[in-house]
Point group: C2
Chain length 149, copies 2
């Protein structure tokens, strides 16, 4: 059992110029655990767990101090969200890049599991020698396979 056997080649991806709103809608609409962001050559730039996609949409001052979120009234919160429609993933990504959870197609199941646990990522991207995406492994697919044995 290798990474290539666990990966789906149908998993939806987004680009750096995708709007944050479109990314959030994809995540919610397809009930995805996270998103893989690709560059123009279809190489993963970053893999965002769902909570980190949410982070792109929540104002920084509310993240740092949730108490502040309490004093933002609801109409204001709606306006903040609407304002994100024109913001791209590139503009919203944190400056400090996350560890990129990628594996080669021949990685073992335990290796994939260890990477997911350490990187706290419910998604791992499988890439070829050129770094191009060949498939995506979800936590759910991995657990199903681990528990079936």
């Amino acid at each position: 059992m290798r990474a290539r056997d666990l990966a789906s080649s149908e998993y939806p991806t987004v680009g750096m110029e995708t709007s944050v709103m479109a990314a959030a809608r994809l995540l919610a609409g397809e009930n995805l655990p996270g998103l893989v962001v690709l560059d123009d050559q279809r190489r993963p730039v970053t893999v965002l767990p769902g909570t980190q996609v949410l982070r792109l949409a929540v104002p920084r001052y509310c993240q740092d101090d949730p108490a502040l979120a309490r004093v933002v009234d609801e109409p204001h919160a709606d306006a903040l969200l609407r304002g994100l429609a024109d913001r791209t993933v590139r503009q919203a990504l944190p400056e400090q890049p996350r560890e990129l959870p990628i594996v080669a197609p021949d990685a073992l199941v335990l290796e994939v599991a260890a990477l997911m646990a350490r990187a706290r990522s419910p998604l791992v991207a499988v890439v070829d020698d050129a770094g191009v995406l060949t498939g995506v492994i979800t936590l759910d697919a991995l657990l199903d396979r681990m528990l079936a044995s």
Copy 2:
């Protein structure tokens, strides 16, 4: 729109004496984003994102250095997993507790979103004044509601 309006009272929970294997099976079988661990009084002890449930099942030495996972052969990996059937959530939890993502029933949507983003938790537990669980808010339910406005 308040936390109580976003929460599900049907979300499955586990106890401290639940086996790690049962917890992993619940997560995978119901396709859950994570698990809420309750004490005997149904107060949340911890909220585990899916990746952290996986962490309970992956040997520590593999998490710290995924390269080591490469040298564990597959039959050995299967044996490691089977050995977890008798281990409880209590025994597997990290000593350093995570921030507990809980809110009061009247918390606002933006407050819940900020907490999820900061705690990196796709689940937030809603608790009453006594700290007893009244419902669980998933990232998916939150995004659906935020994007519907």
